[in-house]
Symmetry: C2
Subunit: 598 residues, 2 copies
Amino acid sequence: MFQSFSESSTPDDGPARLADLRQELVAAGLDGFLIPRADTFQGEYVAPRDARLAWLTGFTGSAGFCIALANRAGVFIDGRYRVQVKAQVDLDHFTPVHWPEVKPWDWLKEALPRGGKVGFDPWLHTLSEIEGYRDGLKGCGIELVAGENLVDRIWVDQPPRPSGKVTAYPLEFSGEKSGEKRTRIAKILLEAGQCAAVLTLPDSICWLLNIRGSDIERNPVVHAFAILLDDGKMQFFTDPEKVKDLGPDPNIEVLDWDAFEEALAALKGPVRVDKASAPIHISDVLREAGIEIDYRDDPCILPKARKNATEIAGTREAHLRDGAAMVEFLYWLDGAKDKPGLTEIDIVTKLEGFRRATNMLLDISFETICGSGANGALPHYRVSESSNRTLEDGDLIVIDSGGQYFDGTTDITRTVCVGNPGGDERAAFTRVLQGMIAISRVRWPRGLAGRDLDPLARYPLWAAGQDFDHGTGHGVGTYLCVHEGPQRLSRSGEVPFEPGMILSNEPGYYREGAFGIRTENLVVVMGAPELAGADKRDMLSFETITFVPIERRLIEVDTLALAERDWLNAYHAQVIEKIAPRISTAAKGWLLKAGAPI
Amino acid sequence: MFQSFSESSTPDDGPARLADLRQELVAAGLDGFLIPRADTFQGEYVAPRDARLAWLTGFTGSAGFCIALANRAGVFIDGRYRVQVKAQVDLDHFTPVHWPEVKPWDWLKEALPRGGKVGFDPWLHTLSEIEGYRDGLKGCGIELVAGENLVDRIWVDQPPRPSGKVTAYPLEFSGEKSGEKRTRIAKILLEAGQCAAVLTLPDSICWLLNIRGSDIERNPVVHAFAILLDDGKMQFFTDPEKVKDLGPDPNIEVLDWDAFEEALAALKGPVRVDKASAPIHISDVLREAGIEIDYRDDPCILPKARKNATEIAGTREAHLRDGAAMVEFLYWLDGAKDKPGLTEIDIVTKLEGFRRATNMLLDISFETICGSGANGALPHYRVSESSNRTLEDGDLIVIDSGGQYFDGTTDITRTVCVGNPGGDERAAFTRVLQGMIAISRVRWPRGLAGRDLDPLARYPLWAAGQDFDHGTGHGVGTYLCVHEGPQRLSRSGEVPFEPGMILSNEPGYYREGAFGIRTENLVVVMGAPELAGADKRDMLSFETITFVPIERRLIEVDTLALAERDWLNAYHAQVIEKIAPRISTAAKGWLLKAGAPI
């Protein structure tokens, strides 16, 4: 079982550790220290050794940070974690702060006098982040000081760096040789007049080198840094032990972590650095060595997002496999959910079991969200032993999950009902479905970005005075991170969609204390198919690659427009055609009913 | 009759005038000169004395410019004017250039050697525009030089500045005293630490002073400059003769044009200047006087766009009056269009007659667009004696028109058919209508701008591989300019909508050489009405204020979703309720049929 349901944290250890940290503050001549949740790679998941925020405070959320001062310690958490933080930290010693409503610099200005000095570990913060602090603190005489990590100094039994084995990601799945990718990116550098690019994003490095790793959970990435030169050669910094089975490549020099700073200082400029993702320490090293820095985005991000035909084919296959597991699961759930005593944990466990039964599951792609009743109204709800809930008649259950397979990464949400759903639930489910169908059907003139399409997913909800407070969709990797940029289907999505980009299409609706709804398929951006009567316009469209039936008992059929009903019936016909050959006879019987025309 | 159908231009005069201009170039030591279409106020309409581009080249379009060099003269025109320019300029002496595809600086770089000097009149160009040139010319050694207007020097019989009478715009229409407006805007200046704002946009000045003018056609504005001080006092620069009937105001000093530069140089800084609309000469004067400039948008733009309750009430009434005239017109047209020989000019003339018959029409708000058959495919088509076309069976006719009334400005488009329309026409008309209904029905969370809603108007067309190449809507003034910012319903609309803003809602479809379609109502942004079952969200919506039936013979009823059909029937019921009491008995009989439920 990949997922665990235990509370991995207790508020008990925090106060003593905070006291230790404060002694270090005094010794270092500092008035405070920043403890981010992020590691040096700025990813969504961190290794145990990097779980400094959880170790110090008890708070285990996936975003947030602590600022520890001599007389107070603020734990900055966003809207998702307002409740959780209170259960996880010792409130006599740590103060939850509502972020981003309260800016950390404003909090610091109120807490510290002029001349205050706040330390931070320059490997754990990006230049953009520190620039934000320095802008915010301008004129108030409080200074941010890079230095040693004081948490690491007091964390006696801090785990070592992860050393997960690295595997090659072969051409039959990557579709392009690493050498060709490196030549392609090197050309971008040459054209921009850059002699080298520093790469610090693990999924960029994995994509570029056609490798995958096992340093952290859920995301099959390798913890490493890299320098790509404008001739396509590369230096790769990690624990050499991890890659020794890969065999040598004359164009790739494998070096230990320790060699990174020296290699940076030996570069010719201008060096391309992504200020939004690279640790600020890299800029400091380059600057001190007198090397010119050209701040631009990581040059792998956009090429990686444009999946090639091989990656798309692999992802399609992964979705058929995953879809078959989901259908077996939904068939089981349909029979089990009305029996007394079934809990959220039972459902999560069973679902992972169906994915494991494919014999191809390498990991789940994130912690399964299974929220029944009022728990479903928390978009990022993760069930634990203490929050676990038994299903009740009339419940909706939001189940958002995915798998990591060698050929692709999946992410799917279905909402099902127990017994007879209420009218509000069905009306909202139908609106969410209309939004999801609008995105599935849209074709648009090339050049538009996520922001331009996001409103289409909300229009039916808006008409009822409703909405949802998350984006409509995120980018998805190919056996890489389930959250991948730069494309996104949201108000902040400004990068134009290009063929090959994979996105989720997941509108929802959440009524606090009552119920939640979300329906999610993955889609791939494609050139729009030819159409009789169309203008000569370069248009794009989404191809849906998730094939799992949508809960018909929650649909108000009369609300759907003809085109929406046609889409749903055609979709379900495709689900049956593609998935029926891959599932058990009993599940097939169920699927034929679940996917029958409405 | 406001509208004229004569070709006001001939290509014959251009060559001799160009030769004269070239002599002036030599005398001034210049290699070229910019001749913009714009006047110093950057408006859509110019006075005869400012029609320099038309005088020099023969080209009368509403956008474009000429760059005259010793050996060539480029006339830069956008997609709307590619055909027209060829008929209006002497092609042996002037070369049409496709703009904005070809940037003028790139054209200059190709045409001139290093050291080239191009003159321009600093009263006719904004700082933003000249910055664009200077950026584009960076490093190529070609220089832009401010100086005397060489066209004015050779234009012997150039008309004088307009001296249209200024009238007060009373409180019963403006809804807020000028003194209160000035106090409000002065507070904005005070808060921004600005001592004064320079105002150069005629509609800003008219709004702020509650006056209207008659210096140009179509837009009832006053040509003037103004300086607003941070205590609410104002200097107003124009021909004092124009305003002498208004009576004195101790807080407003009326000065002649000549006094403007001196007054600028006497200001204390920082002075607020809008670099996108103010002539660059203003910045030059301030800079030379050592006065600090704070570049920000004209502080009246946003307050003017948020119409108050009085302005909205006036605009509603103007639309009912205009709607009644439109219905009388459509009733007439319905009887006349199938008879042989009816032309576009007949229709335009008749329509203006129905508006005049209200006895309230002060002007048309722009040249009526009446495009039948293939002429309808030109979104900005303006009929002339030579382009005039006789209606034929199967034609669609796009009629886009509006009136200036003392209580408001109207703008409406209806598309009607002659005889039996084709299937493609009806399908496209229905899609355009669906987009127009989507905008009419949308409610959205406060904070969104035109860019966020624009795709809703296009979605049905996109689904058929179609689109239209103009924005979905523009802001509209209150007895001011029919095109008013900053709000707009388009991909470039980034200013969030606020209650009181008036916009057009006018999706269309154009098939070159065949037909055009556009349906347009005006809408006002309002707080969204209460709704049972809605979340607690601050949402806005549009209230439609145009009441004229939509051609039912062009609607594919079965394509409409239930909600769309409901909207249309409710809209037509409102049209009948509001307009029937205002029209002739015969027209009423027609309206009852035209607006019957579908």
